[in-house]
């Protein structure tokens, strides 16, 4: 269905090609997962499938890409719209119209599909994706999972043979991600659509994949059955790492496969005791919040939340999209909209003091860290941070160097990788030496090695006495870093306890290792490795 022969892509002004001599074939009705670290050319690869590379992005493409027999060199993206459907990372950014129904019809209008056929296909697609009750809703009012499903529907109505999805579940909570994945697998199995997915959170998709395309970073693409290609890939979901550690062959990809193999491992583990949870009760609270309320107009986002953070504690704030996590973080920092309740950070309420003081009490890294950056070089941002916080010259630079060594001071912050940019903003906020740091969805866009590094950064921050609160959907990351987990629902705290107690019992929030080794309470591969050493 998709055929790359000797494809090399070079962007103008780049010293090396992004893709080099790629040869591969994706068959009809395959679900194909594209894996690799950030910046190895996954987006370029996806763009090449429907001709956005090079028709829209520029650059040169040597070799040949055939999709359903059509050559992308002679068929620009708009001519391929009836063959390839593309859904971008942020569905909202790709919406052209205002309501669900109009959005579903948009592609068909461009393809000049007859009106009666359009009516029929819109109804079918609404049912296929389970979004019939949303048909008249304005797109902006939908939740993340609903938007993602509408975006998929909006390309499906053109009846494409190939569906290309870039990070379809990264921004979603575990339950919404399942809804989207269920829709995707249904397309593959019921309609025989060929699906190509790039996804950093491979633990969510790997088990459904028929084919893995792995980009090691040198411009090549390795393709094969996931269990084989994962054997030595530098990005792999926890379940594969557990399989590698235990020496299972072929590697398991789903919890079911792993559990069937894990009998002997569980037996070995039952004789060793689990290392004591890292979350030793901290002796001192640095942040105490009582009855925090946030309301926007008539909508109450956070209702009466009590929360305390201890010195050197890493706490994860979880809950579905729209459960009030971000609102709570902003309220704790004192920059949110008017709210009720009290926040006490070492004797002061951050909302009651001037921003400069609030900043030295609580540092917040928002969901889009780049909002804080506006200068044209990393060095300038660091200097600005030093002046803002009244810190010694070079403080921010030194912090950045500790978080991620080797960021060029002359680089433009917008050119950094996601991980580096996150570290830069974190360094800027840490320059004021706040005892409490709040992070909103920090692992979005980070690959596994970057996440591992970021986890070690958080651990060292905590050991230096900083209290960290992170709002996230990433259960695997929580399993690695968090001492304690707080679950929010409808703006209220529904669970608050040590990580193992909260996540192991929850079907949505349990990490893969916990699911495989249940009823024993192991959370990460590293824990298991250490115990058996």
């Amino acid at each position: 269905m998709i055929e790359f022969s000797q494809v090399t892509v070079t962007y103008d002004g780049a010293s090396a090609p992004v893709l080099r001599g790629v040869d591969l074939v994706v068959g009809e009705g395959e679900l194909c997962l594209v894996a690799g670290r950030t910046g190895v050319g996954k987006s370029t690869f996806l763009g090449a499938i429907n001709g956005l590379v090079p028709h829209f992005t520029g650059g040169t493409l040597a070799g040949r890409v055939l999709v359903d027999g059509l050559d992308t060199a002679t068929h620009p993206p708009r001519e391929l719209a009836s063959v390839v459907g593309v859904v971008g990372q942020d569905p909202l950014a790709g919406f052209v119209t205002d309501t669900v129904e109009e959005e579903l019809a948009y592609a068909m209008e461009q393809l000049a599909v007859a009106p009666d056929v359009m009516r029929k296909r819109v109804e079918e697609t609404l049912d296929l994706l389970g979004i019939a009750e949303l048909r008249d809703r304005p797109l902006r009012t939908l939740s993340g999972g609903q938007q993602q499903r509408v975006a998929i529907g909006s390309v499906l109505t053109a009846h494409p043979r190939v569906l290309v999805l870039d990070e379809p579940t990264s921004a979603l909570d575990p339950t919404a991600a399942e809804e989207v994945l269920a829709a995707i697998t249904r397309l593959v199995h019921d309609l025989g659509t060929t699906v190509v997915v790039a996804e950093h959170r491979m633990e969510r998709v790997a088990q459904y994949a028929d084919l893995l395309l792995y980009l090691p970073g040198d411009g090549s693409v390795r393709s094969g059955p996931p269990a084989e290609v994962f054997a030595d890939a530098d990005v792999a979901p926890p379940i594969v790492e557990l399989g590698r550690f235990a020496g299972w062959s072929p590697l398991p990809l789903s919890v079911r496969d792993a559990r069937r193999r894990a009998g002997p491992l569980r037996e070995r583990l039952s004789s060793v005791t689990r290392p004591p949870a890292a979350g030793v009760p901290p002796e001192e609270d640095v942040l105490t919040a009582r009855g925090v309320q946030v309301r926007y107009g008539g909508v109450v986002a956070v209702r009466g939340v009590d929360l305390r953070l201890g010195r050197g504690e890493v706490v994860a704030l979880m809950g579905r999209n729209g459960s009030g996590k971000s609102s709570l973080l902003w309220a704790l920092q004192g920059s949110g909209p008017p709210s009720g309740g009290t926040v006490d950070v070492l004797g002061a309420d951050p909302a009651a003091v001037r921003p400069r003081v609030a900043r030295s009490r609580v540092g917040l890294v928002p969901q889009t860290p780049s909002d804080l950056l506006y200068l044209d070089s990393v060095a300038a941002e660091c200097r600005q941070a030093d002046t803002e916080s009244g810190a010694a010259v070079g403080t921010a630079g030194a912090l950045l160097d500790r978080l991620v060594p080797g960021v060029s001071p002359d680089a433009n912050p917008r050119d950094l990788s996601e991980g580096q940019r996150l570290a830069l903003v974190l360094a800027v906020q840490l320059t004021a030496a706040p005892p409490v740091v709040l992070l909103d969805e920090p692992t979005r866009g980070l690959d596994y090695p970057a996440k591992r590094h970021f986890a070690s950064v958080l651990a060292s921050l905590a050991s230096s006495g900083v209290a960290v609160l992170l709002a996230t959907h990433d259960v695997e990351f929580v399993a690695v870093v968090a001492h304690r987990v707080v679950v929010l629902a409808e703006g209220e705290v529904v669970a608050d306890g040590p990580t193992a107690d909260v996540v192991v019992s929850s079907p949505a929030f349990a990490p893969q290792v916990a699911k495989v080794l249940a009823p024993q309470e192991w959370l990460t591969v590293a824990e298991v490795e250490q115990a058996l050493k």
């Binding site: 956005l52 593309v86 052209v96 205002d98 309501t99 019809a105 461009q110 917040l364 804080l372």
Partner: protein, 359 residues
């Protein structure tokens, strides 16, 4: 109109109505007639606009209209000079170098000047308000659907702008909130940099993403055209639109004969040729198109009748004398003509409230 029949009127009908009203306003300097036009436009907007974001645009247009009137009057005071009217007050004259002889800054200001500036400004403001009324009443995106295929590239740009603009407001709010996190207090240049750099970068990214999404969903799809045909189409469309613009100016101006109707007709013919030539290659269809029913025809007829009647009125009734200043009177026939345009407030169906749609 029963609530069950609530629907959006065809955007084209609202535009024809509003433009007709604007043409009518362009022919008169009588402040009472202009006020009547503003009242009519405002009344219809208040009665028939929905609660979608673009419907709130009318307030912005009202603001622009106010600025226009005030600045017209201020300019008359600034570069009025002496014209022998009834001097109201005299400001010290600012001497200008010899190169700008004949222009006098400040100096005596006469009642005639102020009135003339006010009437002029009011006329322009009324035209702006008429356009604002169309914008508030018609969904701009649905109007774009009716744009001829040959203008595909232009309407891509407009669609992107329309979608990104509201997101821009959102990202300004987000960035301003984020700035407090850095305790940035800066005013002036550093404030501009701190807010605009992230917002503009964000807007650019979003525009590119949207354009890519539209491209991959088949927007502007057409067979292959040779470069020569493409140039021909572009030349036809541009020359035609230029002709239309000049022709409209001629018709509105009313003083030069050859610029008017002949130019307008010629422009329309050339532009349509371009549209037909370019649009033939683009094939699109419309999902649940806005129907054109009786209310649409009635709304258009109201607008056209109003403008036609006003144009047919003797010009003496439409002009209020500035020199000597006289109290404006409200002539009967033109007033009735303008009042015809208020009928759409009842003739057009009520739009569906978004709240109902959201449920």
């Amino acid at each position: 109109m029963l609530p069950g029949n609530a629907r959006a009127l065809h955007p084209g009908a609202w535009w024809v109505w509003a433009l007709a009203l604007a043409v009518a306003a362009g022919r008169t300097t009588n402040p009472l007639l202009l006020a009547l036009v503003i009242a009519v436009a405002g009344f219809v907007v208040v009665n028939r606009r929905g609660d979608a974001p673009w419907a709130l645009a009318f307030r912005g247009y009202a603001l622009v209209a106010g600025v226009i009137v005030v600045s017209r009057v201020l300019f008359r005071i600034l570069i009025g000079g002496e014209d022998g009217g009834h001097v109201l007050f005299t400001l010290p004259t600012i001497p200008l170098p010899a190169a700008a002889a004949g222009i006098e800054l400040l100096g005596p200001t006469s009642a005639e000047e102020l009135l003339g500036g006010f009437y002029d400004g009011l006329r322009l403001a009324t035209i702006v308000l008429c356009v604002g009324a169309a914008n508030a009443l018609a969904n701009p995106k649905r109007l774009l659907k009716a744009v001829p295929g040959a203008l595909a590239e232009v309407s891509t740009a407009v669609t992107v702008a329309l979608s990104v603009a509201p997101q821009l407001v959102e990202s300004v709010q987000r960035v301003r909130r984020a700035r407090r996190l850095r305790a940035a207090r800066g005013r002036g240049l550093s404030f501009v940099k701190g807010v605009f750099v992230p917002v503009l970068a964000d807007a650019l990214d979003r525009s590119l993403l949207l354009a890519a999404a539209m491209d991959s969903r088949g927007y502007g799809r057409r067979g292959y055209l040779t470069p020569r045909v493409r140039v021909l189409i572009a030349a036809c469309v541009l020359a035609g639109l230029f002709g239309v613009a000049v022709g409209v100016y001629g018709v509105l101006d009313g003083s030069s004969s050859w610029l008017g109707v002949p130019m307008l007709v010629a422009g329309l013919v050339v532009a349509s040729a371009g549209f037909v030539l370019g649009g033939r290659r683009i094939q699109r269809s419309t999902y649940r198109p806005d129907p054109w029913r009786l209310p649409e025809t009635l709304v258009v007829l109201c607008g056209v009748a109003s403008a036609g009647l006003l144009l047919a009125c003797p010009p003496a009734q439409l002009v209020t004398s500035v020199s000597p200043p006289s109290w404006p009177t409200l002539p009967l026939l033109p007033a009735l003509a303008v009042l015809i345009a208020v009928l759409p407030a009842w003739l057009a169906p009520r739009p569906r409230p978004v709240a109902e749609v959201a449920r």
